[in-house]
């Protein structure tokens, strides 16, 4: 977690004590690092998302397991679970290739949290569901196709 100058000064203004607590907080080994979100959530295609994340050269990996249905009758609620068996996984992003904004969610893991997520996503139409994983400073991905019979992104 990074403080920019303004936030740092505001933190100082709030009180030296609380600032000190905050600083020791971020220095702990377990703290989760959260970079700026840039344009990754507003990107409208997968290539845009990957370049915003910095994962353009991600390698396909069979150590990432995606549990998703082959056919979803309702695109507004598709259950997806991702497990990464790659050592030192620190980040997982969920992408539905053909959604208006493909990046759905991203997860930053400390050592306390296992590299696993289970959630329910919206899908506009049939497409690949992709998991991007950052492990040991490298990006990897896996994908699984979900056929959607009724889209769930509206519009």
């Amino acid at each position: 977690m990074n403080y920019n100058r303004r936030e740092f000064i505001e933190a100082l203004a709030i009180g030296g004590g609380s600032c000190l607590v905050a600083m020791t907080g971020v220095n702990m080994a377990n703290a989760v690092e959260l970079p700026g979100s840039d344009g990754r959530f507003s990107a409208s295609n997968v290539e845009g998302v990957l370049s915003e994340i910095g994962a353009a050269g991600a390698k396909q990996s069979s150590d990432i397991k995606i549990k998703a249905p082959d056919i979803a009758s309702n695109g507004s609620m598709v259950s997806v679970a991702v497990t990464s068996n790659l050592p030192d996984t620190e980040y997982i992003a969920l992408i539905a290739d053909h959604n208006p904004h493909p990046l759905i969610a991203e997860y930053y893991y400390s050592k306390k949290a296992q590299p696993y997520v289970s959630t329910r996503i919206k899908m506009a139409k049939t497409s690949q569901v992709r998991a991007i994983v950052k492990a040991g400073g490298q990006f990897y991905y896996a994908s699984s196709e979900v056929k959607v019979t009724i889209g769930g992104c509206g519009g």
């Binding site: 907080g25 702990m28 377990n30 703290a31 989760v32 959260l34 979100s37 959530f41 507004s76 609620m77 598709v78 679970a81 969920l94 539905a96 959604n99 208006p100 904004h101 990046l103 759905i104 969610a105 991203e106 997860y107 930053y108 893991y109 400390s110 306390k112 949290a113 296992q114 696993y116 997520v117 289970s118 959630t119 329910r120 996503i121 919206k122 769930g152 992104c153 509206g154 519009g155």
Partner: protein, 104 residues
């Protein structure tokens, strides 16, 4: 809007399953109101954090691409009985919610 959320934790030999459901519309801002034809304004959870005894264990940024009343399932390791799990969320309109659970 209802701010209710449910947190369930289950301890299996130190690995704790955390399941969270939050009542939230998760409007992505792209849907049209069928009557008026206007876009329904975006209203979705954009940050979700799990703390263990006050320390961040997991941070998520999300969008209206998650389903309405979103479900989050995670696993935490090296957990002990009486560890306190706190779940915090905020949405794009500045609303927020928080709930606690204690490991059994």
């Amino acid at each position: 809007m209802s701010n209710t959320m449910k947190v369930r934790v289950k301890n299996k030999n130190g690995v704790v399953d955390v399941k969270v459901i939050i009542n939230h519309p998760m409007e992505n801002g792209l849907r049209l109101n069928p009557q008026s034809g206007n876009k329904i304004p975006a209203h979705f959870i954009n940050q979700f954090i799990i703390l263990v005894n006050g320390e961040e264990a997991l941070v998520s940024r999300c969008t209206g691409g998650l389903s309405k009343n979103p479900f989050y399932g995670f696993k935490l390791s090296d957990m002990k009985p009486n560890d306190r799990i706190t779940v915090n969320w905020t949405d794009n309109t500045g609303q927020s919610g928080s709930a606690d659970a204690v490991v059994n």
